[in-house]
């Protein structure tokens, strides 16, 4: 290798050095997807003894309502329970077909509407830990057809307290990142029962490139999970878990 050639190439390297490091962004930011859910939950008192799967009568605010008791769960007369009426929507997702929600890993007999993800039947959950699980949820409505999902598993974990209130969010609003979208600013706000104040909310998303975990504390009946995508873009989410502990 001659010195002149070495100098020539070295000079080329230097010129290129001065041009390195430029960045361009291909996707317009803000391709987020609105998320809206409201559970309309209430507390009630059981009027019948049922070991699920089955229907139990519950007194909710002086009115007798009939709801589904999840498989393997027993309620007895006078027992305080949480009552999730038909029409409740947890995260406003859509499904390929009406999809059954599982409670604590067991069948509930309650289905979510494929159209808007709302409960098609009333659901009764006794005091104690509760985990709602559903498969194949898609959150739609972003610009340019952006969506999140279908997500293999969506889980909402919480607790039904002794008074029949729960730490399951009363309302979820905000925007979530679509698959692979530039979504800085994606934030969801959870409205919680005052009994959940001081508890920690954790959003955990397992996706094609890893796992994102965001935490927030419930204060004044509200928890805000912000900048969901600040550590990387969520792509092809397989699990989405919201845990209140």
């Amino acid at each position: 290798m001659t010195k002149s050639l070495q100098l020539l190439v070295a000079t080329s390297l230097i010129l290129a050095l001065g041009c390195g490091g430029k960045n361009t962004v291909s996707t317009i930011s803000g391709a987020t997807i609105p998320i809206t859910g409201e559970t309309n939950q209430d507390s009630g008192t059981s009027e019948s003894t049922v070991t699920g799967p089955g229907d139990a009568d519950v007194n909710v605010g002086g009115t007798t309502e009939t709801g589904k008791v999840p498989e393997g769960t027993t309620v007895t007369p006078g027992e305080i329970v949480a009552f999730f009426p038909a029409g409740s929507g947890f995260i406003g997702a859509t499904f390929a077909t009406d999809t059954e929600v599982r409670v604590n890993g067991r069948r509930s007999g309650v289905f979510l509407s494929k159209v808007d993800g709302t409960l098609l039947q009333n659901l009764i959950v006794p005091v104690g830990p509760c985990v709602f699980t559903v498969s194949g949820a898609t959150i739609q409505g972003g610009p340019r057809g952006a969506s999140l999902g279908p997500v293999g598993t969506v889980a909402i974990r919480g607790q039904v307290f002794a008074d029949g209130s729960s730490s399951i969010p009363l309302k979820i609003t905000g925007v979530v990142p679509g698959n692979g979208e530039t979504t800085l600013g994606a934030t969801i706000t959870l409205t919680m029962h005052p009994s959940a104040n001081g508890k920690t909310v954790e959003l955990r998303v397992v996706h094609a490139n890893g796992i994102v975990q965001k935490v927030a504390t419930v204060a004044g009946g509200t928890a805000v999970i912000s900048e969901i995508n600040s550590e990387g873009f969520i792509e092809d989410a397989s699990t989405l878990e919201l845990t209140v502990r």
Binding site: A16, G20, T24
Partner: protein
């Protein structure tokens, strides 16, 4: 983009290096055909309130004159800026392994022609935010094929990181200039990397990154060497082709936080390396 001052500094260094270029010494040159070696060292940097440190250990064996194998492991610990409210710093930790082999084709009376394959396998990277949030990134895989001749090298790397990937083409020159003092040498290296990522949001059409290395080495063919080098990354750190290849491949995920600006602003690291060898 790098500053004019930094560009001129790198330019001057490379011009001097280019003018004084000598053949790169890669294999044992003490007249014996076989050797084993152990290299260990650390690498560190601090910039903009962030810090980065890495430790590595590498074993190599040269069973015949033309062939060399090596296996190494490396860890990385990066810390972000201090949170003014809590005093805590976000962190990123990962481990990576490296496996490589190189074969030299001898030419009659000429310099050898080397062919190498290098595999980097990164473990999952963990990013912890100061507010308790975290992210885990699946470890990328990088495979690099390289040819070299008389100090010049050309490389092709394929990186697979989750749903994302990149092809990186590299061209560079590395050399070693003996100094007057016995056993001392001046090390230099310049490399350009043309990156073609797939699935990324930033730089979807590719970009160019560069690396320059200047260093001092003391050693002998009998026992090995000790070296101190400065690596400069004008305009940002490349995805691969650097001593941090097991970790820089995580940039394909376009993380924020602790990694902010590392892809876009000039940075530099110091590398201290001790290589011990025994020939037989």
């Amino acid at each position: 983009m790098m500053t004019t001052k930094t560009t001129l500094l790198a330019a001057t260094a490379l011009l001097v290096a280019g003018a004084q270029a000598q053949d790169r010494v890669e294999l044992a040159s003490d007249g014996r055909d076989r050797s084993i070696g152990l290299t260990f060292g650390g690498l560190g940097a601090s910039f903009g309130g962030r810090s980065l440190s890495s430790k590595y250990l590498k074993f190599d064996i040269q069973p015949v004159k033309q062939f060399k194998l090596w296996f190494g492991s490396q860890s990385l610990d990066a810390k972000g800026k201090e949170d003014p409210a809590t005093g805590n710093r976000s962190t990123f930790d990962a481990r990576a392994t490296e496996f490589g082999m190189r074969y030299e084709f001898q030419s009659r009376g000429g310099a050898p022609f080397g062919v190498s394959y290098i595999a980097h396998r990164s473990g999952d990277g963990t990013f912890e935010q100061t507010d308790g949030s975290s992210a885990l990134y699946f470890g990328p895989k990088t495979d690099t094929f390289e040819v070299d001749h008389e100090g010049w090298s050309g490389s092709y790397s394929r990186i697979k990181a989750g749903s994302r990937s990149a092809s990186v083409f590299g061209v560079g020159y590395a050399g070693k200039q003996p100094l007057k003092a016995k056993g001392w040498s001046f090390l230099y290296e310049g490399k350009l990397l043309f990156e073609r990522p797939s699935g990324t949001v930033v730089n979807p059409d590719g970009s160019t990154r560069a690396m320059a290395r200047l260093g001092l080495e003391y050693g002998s063919p009998e026992w090995g060497s000790i070296s101190l080098s400065a690596y400069v990354f004008p305009g940002g750190i490349p995805y691969t082709g650097t001593p941090l290849s097991g970790f820089t491949s995580f940039f394909l995920y376009e993380p924020g936080g602790v990694a902010d600006d590392l892809r876009t602003k000039t940075s530099a690291t110091l590398d201290l390396r001790v290589s011990l060898k025994a020939s037989f």
